[in-house]
Structures are given as structure tokens and as C-alpha cells.
Amino acid sequence: MSELVKSPAIGDESPVSATAAAAPEATPKQLTQWAEIRHRFVQNKLAVVGLVIICLLFLTAIFGNMFAPFDPGAQDLENTLASPNGTHWMGTDALGRDMFSRLIAGTRVAMFVGLASIFFAVLIGVALGAIAGYFAGFADTLVMRIADVFLAFPLMIGAVVIILVTGRGITPVIISLAVFSWATVSRLLRSSILSVREMDYVHAAKALGASGWRIVRTHILPNSLTPVLVYATFNVGTTIIGVAALSFLGAGVPVDVPEWGNMLAAGQAFIGVHDYLWLYPSLFVVVTVLGFAFVGDGLRDALDPKLR
């Protein structure tokens, strides 16, 4: 998203000239790698916007209940389906619950489900991907074929089948989404490990007699995780949409949980009549998805400018 203009000041077309390379005198502002990454990230305005969105979402998830005007579960049957007004900024739903307060409460659910399922996907994916990428041979083949099996299930179809057998609930939703996303993580990590493994510093570490596990942990993993990190960030948003879709299919979290997908699924019945019922939840989803996408883009560009 932020293809920075190739500045001639940073690099002309030719590689660093012999003379300049022969003059490795430290400049006073020698940036560390992380500071450099941070610098590149902050340069990207959209990424910063995304970061602000995510921070706000986290703050909302943690402290939202303190500033929500109403109890998100409190029903007011005298005042159902009220259009947005001074008291209920985003209106009330079919049970007279304050939409704004529910959306705030939903932030916590969305963050939790989104992050938790990505977390588990990454956990399984990294563990198996690392094994496959580093040990190669049979372990690699085995892990990759298993990954292929899980990749072959379209996410929604796979998730729905799992929830069919486990029943609705936050945990089944998290598990089913994780079960069908880890394979991508494994693949990404494996191919990135394969290229890192051939890097000189890994050979050097091997030559120095470092143990296999040590090499994986200190040399290979940190350098291979970039695409995984980017993928994970991107996919928090995608996962949140997935949860909403599951709710629409009646396979999401329990109906009384103030979850955006639930609210959307309830609100879609009122399309054309009470549009705010689906519009506001949609906006929360969109903004969240965008926030994570922006940050994912920014991270990708910042971590590895060549990747973009």
C-alpha cells in the first residue's frame, strides 16, 4: 500500500561503490535494526492509522465497559428498535438493548476470538512448520502432506463441519478457525526457513558447533517469522469476518453474546427497515479489518522492504 518512492538518496541503481564500501566508518546515527524497522513503519501513514485503530480497539476491549453508556445485556422492552438518538447513539436492537454498548462489548469478543484463533493457528503452524523446514526429509514430507489435507478444506466448510459436531460456542469457533488456518502458517514458515537455512550466518553457526535446536531458536526462527507475522496480522481481520459469517450460518457464538456477527445476523433481517442495526456492526467489522490490514501492510513493508 505504501510503495515508497525509490529515493535516489538511499540507493542508486548501482550497488554500493567500492570506495564507499571501503569506508565503513560508523555514522553517528547508526540505527539498530529494530529502530530502522520502527522508522520505516512510522513513515507509513496508513500503518500508523491502523496501529491507532488497533490500539483503540484494544483499549475498548479492555476498558470499554467503563465508558459504555449502558449495560450491553440490559433490555428495555419499552424501547425496542429505537433509531439512533441522543440517548442511544446507535439505536437499540429488537430487545431494546443499547447498540453502542453492545458494539463496545463486542469489541472484546472480536479481539478475543480473532486473536485467540490466530494465536492457536500460529502456535500449531509455527511448531509444525519449524519441524518441517528445519529437519526436512520425512518430517517435512509428513507435515506438509498434513498441511495439504487441512488446506484442502475450504475454511467455511471446514469450520462449519467442526461446529456441527462440537456445538456452538466461543471455544468451538476459535478451534475450528484455527484448525483450518494453521496449515498456511506452516507453509509460509517452512518456505521462509528453507531460504534462511541457506544463509551464511546459519552455516556459520553450524560450523561453530551450535546445536540444531539452538540454531532453529536463535537463528532461523527469528529470521523466518516475518511472513508469519505479516500473515497473522492480516488475518485477525479476516478471522473476525469469518466469525460473523459463522454466526450468519447459525454456527457462531451463542446468540446472547454481544458479538458483531451475531448483531449483524440479527440486523440483516431488518435490511431496509432499520438499517442501523446492520450498518453499525458492519462498520465496526470493516474498521477492524482495515486496521489490521493497514498494520499488516506496514509491517510487511517495514520488516522487509523487498517483499512489497
Binding site: K6, A152, I157, V160, V161, L164, S282, V285, R308
Partner: protein, 308 residues
């Protein structure tokens, strides 16, 4: 190339076996009572009836036996008989497959034409109003859940404006709304992907070479840029087509499109396992086959893959 194809075919078979095992495990090993749903839940469950039903559906055998039975039957195209209408599953699913395929074909056409078209234009006129509009549209399309998009399209274009029929049917105009719903997210993804790879390829040295050779702009674009930028896009399109052919749960439900996705949603509600198994097996298989085709296509497009 021949060996490569053979190896990929072998992998495909392994993946299919693995996927059917996973599915089988989900449906029959995890808690749940497949017979309950056949016997009719609100009806006397006469032990004799249950036993007979079990025998009829082969549920009285051990799991491995059931699995082997099932796989050997599936291999010959026999998916058994469904629990509700008691018709041959293959007979039930046959027309549905055709319907899903029709929709998928139109959708992927839309995705290819509009996704790539918009992406190319956005890349060529980078930072123009058009590019910004594209970015805006694509982020929105990615962020809004499919079911909201689908219901809005139906509401606006079928119910209010009546430009398109509300329910599908076999005519092209009946397919437009569901196909657009199905395509819209992918159009956004493909547009972004095309734009990204185009920009990357436009920066490539060989494009500079092509310009330096004095080639007309059109030739540079359509010969040197497009072929190279189409490689990742074609991969995405292929995978996406595989997923589309696997059935669209939400879109088919919204537009009452009699495809495999809708069949799956209903079968899950009715715990009609033969249909569930049939659809999932099919969508996994089609996905795997498409992945294979994509890999071969990739090799055809990029000699570096083909010849290494």
C-alpha cells in the same frame, strides 16, 4: 515435467485420503449420533428400527471398516443414500454441482475481468483518483461480510429496482446478482494483488530493458509486464476458482441457488450426514484438483519453475 506431474498426482491422492479421514473422524468419531437423525428424532426409536437403519447405512460395522467401505464406494462415485429424501446422494448432488459450477464460472469470469482490469488500471495510474477509488472500494469489499453485500444487492437490484430477477433460474440475468456477491470480495483481492504485482513488475529491470529497446508502450505492457504480473494472480484465481466450485454456503443460501453450498448448509441442519460427506468430499477433491491445475499452469507460465 512428466515426473513432476506424476509426483503431484501422487500427492493429490494422499491429500484426498487424508481429507476424507479427517472428515470421517469428525462425523463418526466425535460425539454425535448419526442414527438419531436417520431414525427421526421425534419418533419412537424402536431398537429394531435403529438396528435396521444402522445395517442399511453400514453403521453397525467397525469404524475402519466403515471408512474403507466409504472410500471404496466414493471412488466409484457411489455416495450412498441420503437420510431425508432417501435418494441417491450422487443423484441429488449431480444437478447441484452443475449449478454451483455455473455460478462459479460466471463469478470467476467477473473476478478475472474486473479484478485484473481494475488492478491494472490502478497500477498504471497510481495515486490517481481512480487508484484511490480502487483502494477504497477494495478495502470496503474486503471488510464487509458477504451476507450483508448479498442481501443489499438483492434488496436494491432485485426487489426495488427490479433490474434482475430475485431468484436465479437458468438465465444469465438470474445469475448476475449471486455471481457478483460471490465475486466481489475476490475482485477486491485480485485487484489489490494485480496492482501490487504490476507495480512490482513495472519496477523490474527487464521492463526498463523493454522500454530501452524502444518497444511501444502497449507491447511493453501486454507482453513484458502482464505475463509476469499474471503469475501470482493466476495462482490466486485458480485457488479461488477451486473454492468457488466447492460451493458457496452464504451466497447460495441468500439467493436460493440450488448448489452444493446450500445443500451442505441444509444437510448440516438436518444432520443428513451422507450429503454432508458427499459435499465436503467433493469440495475437497475439486479444490485439490484445481490446486494441481494451478501448479501446472504456474509451471507453464514460468519457465524457471518448469525447467528446474
Amino acid at each position: 515435467m512428466g515426473r513432476y506431474v506424476a509426483r503431484r498426482l501422487g500427492q493429490m491422492v494422499i491429500v484426498l485420503i487424508g481429507a476424507t479421514m479427517v472428515l470421517f473422524a469428525c462425523l463418526f468419531v466425535l460425539p454425535g449420533d448419526p442414527v438419531g437423525s436417520i431414525a427421526g428424532s421425534d419418533k419412537a426409536r424402536d431398537p429394531a428400527v435403529v438396528a435396521e437403519l444402522k445395517a442399511r447405512y453400514g453403521l453397525d460395522k467397525s469404524l475402519p471398516e466403515q471408512y474403507v467401505n466409504y472410500v471404496s464406494k466414493v471412488a466409484t462415485g457411489d455416495l450412498g443414500e441420503d437420510f431425508i429424501q432417501r435418494r441417491e446422494v450422487s443423484e441429488i448432488l449431480g444437478p447441484k454441482l452443475a449449478n454451483t459450477a455455473k455460478l462459479a464460472l460466471l463469478a470467476i469470469t467477473l473476478v478475472t475481468v474486473f479484478g485484473m482490469g481494475v488492478g491494472i488500471i490502478a497500477a498504471l495510474y497510481r495515486y490517481s483518483i481512480l487508484d484511490m477509488a480502487t483502494t477504497f472500494f477494495t478495502t470496503m469489499a474486503v471488510g464487509f461480510p458477504t451476507f450483508v453485500i448479498g442481501m443489499l444487492l438483492m434488496k436494491w437490484f432485485a426487489v426495488e429496482l427490479q433490474w434482475f430477477p430475485q431468484l436465479g433460474g437458468d438465465k444469465l440475468e438470474g445469475m448476475v446478482l449471486p455471481a457478483v456477491t460471490l465475486a466481489i470480495t475476490d475482485i477486491a483481492f485480485v485487484a489489490r494483488l494485480t496492482r501490487g504485482t504490476m507495480l512490482e513488475v513495472l519496477r523490474a529491470d527487464y521492463v526498463k530493458t523493454a522500454v530501452a529497446k524502444g518497444l511501444p508502450r502497449r507491447r511493453v505492457l501486454f507482453k513484458h509486464v502482464l505475463r509476469n504480473s499474471s503469475i501470482p494472480v493466476v495462482t490466486y484465481l485458480g485457488i479461488s476458482f477451486g473454492a468457488l466450485l466447492g460451493g458457496a454456503l452464504i451466497t447460495e443460501a441468500i439467493f436460493n441457488w440450488d448448489g452444493v453450498g446450500l445443500a451442505l448448509v441444509q444437510a448440516i441442519q438436518q444432520q443428513n450426514n451422507p450429503i454432508v460427506i458427499g459435499v465436503v468430499t467433493y469440495s475437497v477433491a475439486i479444490f485439490v484438483v484445481l490446486s494441481l491445475i494451478v501448479d501446472l499452469l504456474y509451471a507453464a507460465l514460468d519457465p524457471r519453475i518448469r525447467l528446474s
